[in-house]
């Protein structure tokens, strides 16, 4: 097993407020790591630091073994092309059609010819279970679930090894959210991706994560499988995992036989 992301003694400060202090985390290739934590515990901040959108105040993050923020533009660009990010609200380019959105990263690369781009976009659309005719819609014409799917197709268009998901199922109804979780799970299996996700939703957590990192008190409070985490005695974990709602979600996971 090689580690895809290594976070080494990371500290983050916004003004006078410390978000993370001396945080360590290692994410292995092929796993689905979920980051959970209360509001304001810095989950999304951590995710943004992993992909180099935010610079940590102290400490270092290594992506695929290479440090971020070396100042070498070429190296940084190549590193950025090895992961895909699904933003919470999709972040689709609203002036582009679905097709242009998915084709955008490939066109930016500038080596693949238009015919191949067309075929690849159609492939990505079918991978996220959308129809070819959806390619000509504008983002404003899409429903919430479709926006997430298109955003996922765009995140996958550079054939990333690492996929980062920020609240992948927030704002979707339970039915859609379940089918989206299934979709990500099957893509993870097919493509052998490493997935890092931030979520509040226990169904998503139970349906996807192979390991869970609980962020609280400015550090990783607990790390392990869901079953491991539930053994930890801490007020936040008790509240998050052990109420009725959580128990139901986890039971349905057991009956589905997901691991």
């Amino acid at each position: 097993m090689t580690s895809v992301i290594e976070i080494d003694h990371l500290s983050t400060r916004f003004g006078e407020h410390w978000v993370h202090r001396d945080l360590n985390l290692e994410i292995q290739a092929g796993e689905v790591m979920a980051l959970v934590g209360g509001s304001g515990s810095g989950k999304t901040t951590l995710l943004r630091q992993m992909i180099g959108l935010l610079q940590p105040s102290k400490g270092q993050i290594r992506l695929f073994g290479e440090p971020l923020f070396t100042g070498n533009a070429e190296q940084e660009r190549n590193l950025r092309r090895r992961f895909g990010m699904l933003f919470q609200y999709g972040a689709l380019y609203s002036a582009f059609t679905v097709f242009q959105n998915i084709a955008f990263p490939l066109r930016e690369l500038g080596v693949v010819d238009e015919d191949l781009i067309h075929d690849l976009v159609m492939l990505k659309l079918s991978m996220v279970e959308l129809l070819p005719r959806h390619a000509w819609l504008m983002p404003s014409e899409l429903s919430g679930g479709m926006i997430k799917r298109v955003a996922l197709a765009r995140a996958l268009s550079m054939e990333p090894e690492l996929l980062l998901l920020d609240e992948p199922t927030a704002g979707l109804d339970p039915d859609r959210s379940e089918s989206f979780v299934k979709l990500i799970r099957s893509l993870h299996r097919q493509l052998g991706l490493t997935v890092v996700l931030v979520t509040h939703d226990l169904d998503t957590l139970a349906g996807l994560a192979t390991r869970v990192a609980v962020l609280a008190e400015q550090r990783i409070l607990a790390l392990g499988t869901i079953d491991d985490i539930m053994q930890v005695d801490h007020p936040f974990i008790r509240n998050f995992f052990c109420c009725d709602r959580a128990q139901r979600a986890l039971q349905s996971r057991a009956s589905e036989g997901v691991a």
Binding site: A95, L116, D119
Partner: protein
Amino acid sequence: MSGASLALDTDAEGRRWLRLSGTWRLMALAPQFEALAGELDRQAAQPGIGWDLQGIESLDSVGAMLLWRVWQRRYPEILQLPDRLEPVFERLYAAGKTPEAGPEAPRPYEWVATVGRLAIGLWRHVSDFVALIGQLVLDIAHLARVPGEIPWRETSANLYKSGVRAMPVTALVGFLIGIVLSYLSALQLKNFGADIFIVNILGMGIIRELGPVLVAVLVAGRSGSALTAQLGVMRVTEEIDALATMGVSRSLRLIFPKVAALAVAMPLLVLWTSAIALMGGMVSAQFQLDISYGYFIDTLPKVVPVANLYIASLKGVAFGMLVALVACHFGLRVRPNTESLSSNTTASVVSSITVVILVDALFAIATRSIGMPI
């Protein structure tokens, strides 16, 4: 990470094999993409060639799609495909099954439809604008009956933002324009020895015409664009819908304060800017023509009848309301995407400047016999 490579060899039975190996992933393929695609095409054209994919360490859909297209979207007859790579091609196969519809082909006589759409679009603009004005009139009637509902706070906030905050920039522009105008006129007047008429030229030109139009253009660029963008973003984030669901009239709370504030602020800004511009002209006249400040100030009321000041203020009120109305009209048309926001903001500024100049021409015709010096 090793790149993609291919080799050609012949086995014991005399069959030619194309053996692919290495990493067939997008980032590895990118530097050698064209060369590789050309080579594959050449090899595929030869009959009876075998494809050996067992040496491929890793394959993504770009690599697979490249091969799939060379194979003309079906498996070649002679193929050694390891099981681990099969799912990648299965995906391509599955994706190819859904029939594809391109964007709709342009119909014949499309231009007729285009003209029609333009006409309908223009009609919508006009009818929406009239509806906006009508709503505003209804709001004013309502507020006259229920004065307690006048949105004083919003109005005064708008007054501050688009009036008070605009004073430095209008003063600066007015002062400089005054200097330039006075300097250029002075050069001409000197030739005729008609130095003292500089007061007439500056007084009439700035007070009656230049002041109101200058301020209207500045305010359209400064506040008009801001109002459009503000309303547009409020529409995108559904804040306007939220207001409506709370039973708050959007025209009363959002549009009326903006129109009222500009209707009050503009005439004041016109007076302010004209005064500063005249000061600029006065300074320049003193340097160029030796006309003393005292003489300038003394002569000004004699050559510029006070009616001009009323016309200027009236223009200010009209221009202010127009700029605000046009800005609100375009702001409410913003659809939730970045393109729409930028095009509506542009359209708002361009239209309000155009409308202001048109209305200024109407004013010139309507007031042609008022306020002229005898």
